[in-house]
């Protein structure tokens, strides 16, 4: 990173520093009870201890595995479903009503359901994240594929591409901007579902840590786990935006 960009980043996130200072002052001065809000310095200390002990890493890795697996499956299936729905009317006729009914359902309602099906381990979390993330990806791919320019498809056909081949060569890349927007929404949803399902039905993961530490009264450690989730979510979104910009650099 060159110094100017580093400077910009520092400037942009300076308000966070302000919050950190207020947090510390509020907790230390007794304006807020230490139980409700342990001082930031204590929280960071607790974070460091859990990091050294490996607790954070083990639970963090478990959470990341669930997210990546669920989201990855959702992207693969969602893109395929969306494109086929846009391109083949019979497939759309079968799937569109299912997607429509499933779309407004709060996926957190499925937390107990997936737990009954697949237990308290990774499977239920992966299934839940998959189900929750698939819909926005499917809708993005569907809209993108439907909006693909007829003239582009015809051009490819006139150069010798088969109809199926144009799905890969023309329709999928045409849909890419909307697919990537859908995936960004899915990324946010995946964190929500991850943490809430781990809070409720899990013996591992960052969400489980938050619940477990909170129940045990270890509030400084609980806040440390919350900060970790926040940081991971933030980093994932930033990284994703960079990938997105790179993938769409051909746009004006």
């Amino acid at each position: 990173m060159n110094p100017r960009i580093a400077n910009n980043v520092l400037f942009r996130y300076a308000p966070l520093l302000l919050i950190a200072v207020f947090w510390e002052i509020a907790a230390r001065s007794g304006i807020v009870s230490e139980l409700a809000l342990p001082p930031l310095s204590t929280v960071l200390e607790a974070w460091w201890k859990m990091f050294i002990s490996g607790e954070l890493i083990v639970n963090g890795a478990s959470s990341m595995y669930r997210t990546v697996a669920g989201l990855g499956l959702a992207i693969i299936v969602g893109v395929l479903l969306g494109i086929f729905m846009a391109w083949f009317k019979p497939i759309n006729a079968v799937l569109a009503p299912i997607v429509e009914v499933f779309y407004p359902l709060p996926k957190s309602a499925l937390i107990p359901v997936t737990a009954i099906w697949l237990g308290f381990g990774d499977g239920s979390k992966i299934l839940l994240i998959f189900l929750g993330c698939m819909i926005p990806v499917t809708i993005g791919a569907y809209n993108g594929a439907r909006g693909s320019d007829q003239a582009l498809v015809w051009s490819a056909r006139a150069m010798g591409a088969s109809r199926m081949r144009t799905l890969l060569d023309v329709v999928a890349p045409s849909a890419l901007p909307e697919i990537l927007s859908g995936v960004r929404i899915a990324l946010a949803i995946s964190f929500v579902l991850l943490v809430s399902s781990e809070l409720l039905v899990s013996r591992q993961g960052l969400g489980h840590m938050i619940g477990f530490l909170g129940d045990g009264g270890a509030y400084d450690a609980m806040f440390a786990a919350v900060l970790t989730v926040a940081l991971l979510g933030f980093l994932a979104d930033r990284a994703y935006q960079m990938v997105m910009r790179k993938a769409l650099q051909w746009q004006e």
């Binding site: 056909r157 006139a158 010798g160 051909w250």
Partner: protein
């Protein structure tokens, strides 16, 4: 039209009904017959909505011919193919591919070897004057450069027939004029059959050897006018014979354009 069976494209009594997703059916083409010789430059001229583009898409095989027949080289058209290249008004370049990759796409599809593909792509990039822009994306090009790329992409796979759908309609007047001259130069060198859709009378008379004047919807071929002027000289625009020919065809089109306007009025 007696052509001693030498026609490359034979359109025989073709009608076409357009069914929009919503709304009622429209008879876009009615009983259209036309024969085009090998290496001929024919313009399809008519008011907007007269079905001239539809006819082009039928020849291209993009739309199915249900009523009547279209044959190319004696075989009925069953779908699109690399023997019939197409150039669209809005270029239809793949926006995620660079100029070079756009041109390489068709060459991959027709199965050329890698080295040959690269060589050929470069030759066509040079031909249309886009050297130095090989790695630009379409969004970084002007309209004229985009259309040059599209023409190069189509010509690179060497189709026998070039279908052009108002290819210069989205360009400014100067670029359009330059592109017309370039197209004629290319046509004279490569001698492909060109079917050129336009609503610009002067453009049709200047470019084409024959102009098929179409009626307002439902589109029919009203008459076919010979327009074989000297294409190596843009001064032809000032010649009386040329001006008279434009006037003559403009008279034919005027009534159709008025009819088309009235149909559009609510």
């Amino acid at each position: 039209m007696a052509m001693n069976g030498a026609a490359q494209i034979v359109i025989n009594r073709v009608s076409h009904v357009y069914r929009p997703p919503r709304g009622r059916e429209v008879l876009a083409l009615q009983d259209v017959s036309l024969e085009v010789r090998r290496r001929e430059f024919v313009a399809l001229l008519g008011p907007s909505g007269c079905g001239k583009s539809t006819l082009l898409y039928l020849i291209g095989g993009f739309l199915p011919t249900v009523d009547g027949t279209i044959a190319v080289e004696g075989r009925p058209v069953a779908g699109p193919g690399p023997d019939r290249g197409i150039v669209f008004q809005h270029f239809a370049l793949f926006p995620w591919k660079t100029v070079r990759s756009n041109i390489l796409y068709g060459l991959e599809k027709v199965g050329l070897e890698r080295a040959e593909r690269e060589k050929r792509a470069q030759a066509f990039i040079d031909m249309v004057g886009l050297s130095g822009f090989e790695d630009s994306y379409p969004s970084q090009l002007s309209g004229g450069m985009k259309q040059r790329t599209a023409i190069a992409r189509t010509l690179a796979i060497d189709p026998d027939i070039l279908l052009m759908d108002e290819p210069f309609g989205a360009l400014d007047a100067q670029t359009r004029s330059l592109m017309q001259t370039e197209l004629l130069a290319i046509w004279q060198r490569s001698r492909k059959t060109v079917i050129f859709v336009t609503h610009d009378v002067q453009e049709a008379v200047y470019l084409a050897e024959r102009v098929a004047v179409m009626s307002a919807r439902p589109g029919r071929i009203k008459t076919i006018v010979d327009t074989n002027f000297d294409k190596n000289d843009r001064a032809v625009f000032k010649q009386k014979a040329f001006i008279d020919k434009v006037d003559e065809i403009w008279e034919l089109v005027r009534n159709e354009a008025l009819a088309a306007l009235e149909e559009r009025a609510p």
